[in-house]
Structure formats: C-alpha cells, structure tokens
C-alpha cells in the first residue's frame, strides 16, 4: 500500500520534471546567442556555429560515446599538417616567448598579427615562471622522462596542432587546426618542451 503511494508520488514528480525537460533549453540558448552576439573586430558571428567536434562535445556534456569519439578523433588526426621539411623542433627560446603570450583571436586582437600560445595560462612549463595556470597538466620536465625522439616530437607537434585528435573534448584549443599558431610557432613550442637545452628539461 505504502509502496504504491510512493510510486505514484515518484511518477508525478517525474511527470513534472519531464514537462521541464521537454523544453530544449540548449536550442533556446543557441538561438539566444545568435540573436544577441555581434561581430566585433576579427571575431565574427560565424564563431557561434558549432563545428563537428564542438557539436558532439556540447551535446554530450564533453562525454561522447567512446566509438563516436574514436571516429572523430581519427578525422582530426588525419587532418594534422606536419611540416613539409620533416623538422618538428624549432628554437626553445622563441617557444618560451610564444608560451608566455596570451594574445590572439580575441576581438581586440588585430588580424594578421601572430597570436600567442597562451600556454602558461593553463600549464606549468619552465621553472622560472611561477605564474602559471592549472587547467592543464604540468609540463615541467616534459622531455626529461620522454626524451626527444621522432615519436614524441610527432606527438607533441600533433597535440599542439590539434589536441582534439587525441582527446575529442579536451579543454585545449586546436592551435594549428584553426590557424591560431603557425607551423614555425608550433615547432618552437615543441622545442620548448623537448629540447634538452630548454629550461623545461634542465636540472
């Protein structure tokens, strides 16, 4: 008897909840954004259109089904452009400067001016910089344990070019994929992480 009542109450609650759930607030939110946001500087309203990766991650709370993620990661991986000259390591000193800069792609940035890597915003990197973020993992001594062989170079270059090729809903931008960093800039960042001379890997 008691159980029935409980069930009935639960069913009622569910119905009430459903009435709310039925509304697609996500769609309403997207429509609202498209109505309210205006192009400014280099930031056009096309930026509000989700691409494939964004669409999947947004619809799954950054937790897509494994098979879906694997297939899209593969697409992203195949689109990575590695340097034609085959050299993946540049100058770590330049890399450090790029890692420090948080500029690029905002409506207050100018078109055509090379952006920064925004790396320290989220990662610990060289030990001399104590002002670093923690959204990403620590990259201090990244090359120390991994060496700087061709495989790790290729991985790091690819990861910076398009982090989503390795983890579909990663918080990290796809710097090469969207043209936020140039090939040379990414090479310099690879060197910052892997060059044995880089302070990242020195004692």
């Amino acid at each position: 008897m008691k159980k029935t009542i409980v069930f009935a109450a639960a069913a009622l609650a569910c119905t009430a909840a459903l009435a709310d759930e039925v509304r697609n607030y996500r769609a309403e939110a997207v429509a609202m954004l498209k109505r309210d946001f205006k192009a400014k500087g280099i930031a056009g309203t096309d930026r509000l259109h989700e691409d494939s990766v964004q669409a999947i991650c947004n619809r799954s709370g950054d937790n897509p089904p494994k098979d879906v993620a694997a297939r899209l990661e593969q697409d992203q991986l195949e689109a990575i452009k590695y340097p034609a000259d085959g050299k993946l390591m540049g100058d770590w000193k330049e890399g450090e400067k790029i890692a420090q800069s948080g500029r690029g792609m905002t409506w207050s940035d100018k078109a055509g001016i090379p952006g920064g890597g925004n790396c320290y915003n989220c990662h610990q990197i060289a030990p001399s910089e104590t002002s670093f973020g923690t959204i990403g993992t620590s990259l201090y001594q990244f090359g120390k344990t991994r060496g700087n062989g061709p495989d790790i170079q290729k991985y790091v270059y690819g990861k910076i070019w398009n982090a989503k090729a390795f983890n579909l809903c990663s918080a990290m931008p796809r710097f090469g994929h969207v043209g936020a960093l140039t090939e040379k800039q990414i090479k310099d960042l690879v060197a910052l992480l892997l060059d044995p001379q880089s302070p990242v890997n020195s004692k």
């Binding site: 948080g102 500029r103 690029g104 320290y120 915003n121």
Partner: protein
C-alpha cells in the same frame, strides 16, 4: 615654526637653502609650505640618489623598522604596504621601491601624537625591494627592506 615643519626642513637636503633663507628672514613660513615638496628626492632615478636628495647619509640597517607587504603581489598596480618604526623619536617615514623609475614613492612627517606607522598602496613595475626609511629627531636615518614579487596575472590578452 612648529615641530613638524622643523623636522621636515631638517631632513630635506634641498631645503637647506630655504632654511637659511628663513633664518635670514627672507622667507616667511607660509611661503615655505608651497616649497615643501622635495622634488630632487622624488625625481631621483635610483635609491642612492633619492636618499642623498632626502639628506639621508650614513643610513643604517635597522630591525626596528617593520614592513608588512605581500611576498607576491596580486597586482603590481596596487601593492599594500604597512610600515612602522619602533625607533625612539621617529619623526619621518618614507617608502621607496628600488626598481621603480623613481624609487621614492612617498614621505611622511609625524607630529603631535601621530604614531610612526603608515599604511598605503604603491605601484610596482616589477619584482623589487620595498625599502622603508626612518628619520629620528636627532637627524639619523635608518632603513629596512623587503622583497615583493610582481607576477603576470590574468589571461595575458
């Protein structure tokens, strides 16, 4: 001439001439007030120059001067500093930042019961030493220092 003005004039190197002029009756105290700003000290580009212009020679380190300031400032534009002196008869406290383009930030004279203790906020362009200079009634100068780190904040964009 009240006690405050006397200590002020005694300390400021550039005011020697003014004091002499006053003694000679050329200047009246009311005119002196306008000339109180020790421009030379504020325009000095390094600590040595600022101390010299402030008339601070033979400056001794002292643990009787306390500086309360952050080890790392949240923002270099607003660094909270608290300075105090337990030296007997402290009549003046100044705050300097060694790496600033003009190290002397401010200088305060105390009289009539004012405790030699000040809190204020200063700008620091980079990691530097904050130095607190105290002058006692007998014209002696003492100094204490504390490093404050200034870091990059925000998204950098």
């Amino acid at each position: 001439m009240d006690a405050l003005r006397r200590t002020l004039l005694k300390g400021a190197g550039a005011t020697g001439a003014i004091a002499a002029a006053m003694a000679a009756g050329v200047l009246r105290p009311s005119q002196v007030l306008a000339a109180d700003i020790n421009r030379a000290a504020f325009e000095a580009k390094d600590i040595a120059g600022a101390l010299k212009a402030a008339g601070a020679t033979n400056v001794a380190d002292s643990t009787a001067i306390a500086i309360k300031a952050p080890d790392i400032a949240e923002n270099g534009a607003v660094v909270p500093i608290e300075i105090s002196s337990s030296l007997p008869n402290t009549v003046s406290l100044s705050v300097l930042v060694d790496k600033n383009p003009f190290p002397l930030t401010s200088s305060f004279e105390f009289a009539n019961g004012a405790v030699p203790e000040m809190s204020l906020r200063v700008k620091m362009g980079q990691t530097a030493m904050v130095e607190a200079l105290a002058r006692t009634a007998d014209g002696k100068h003492f100094i204490a220092k504390k490093e404050v780190k200034v870091t990059v904040g925000g998204c950098g964009g």
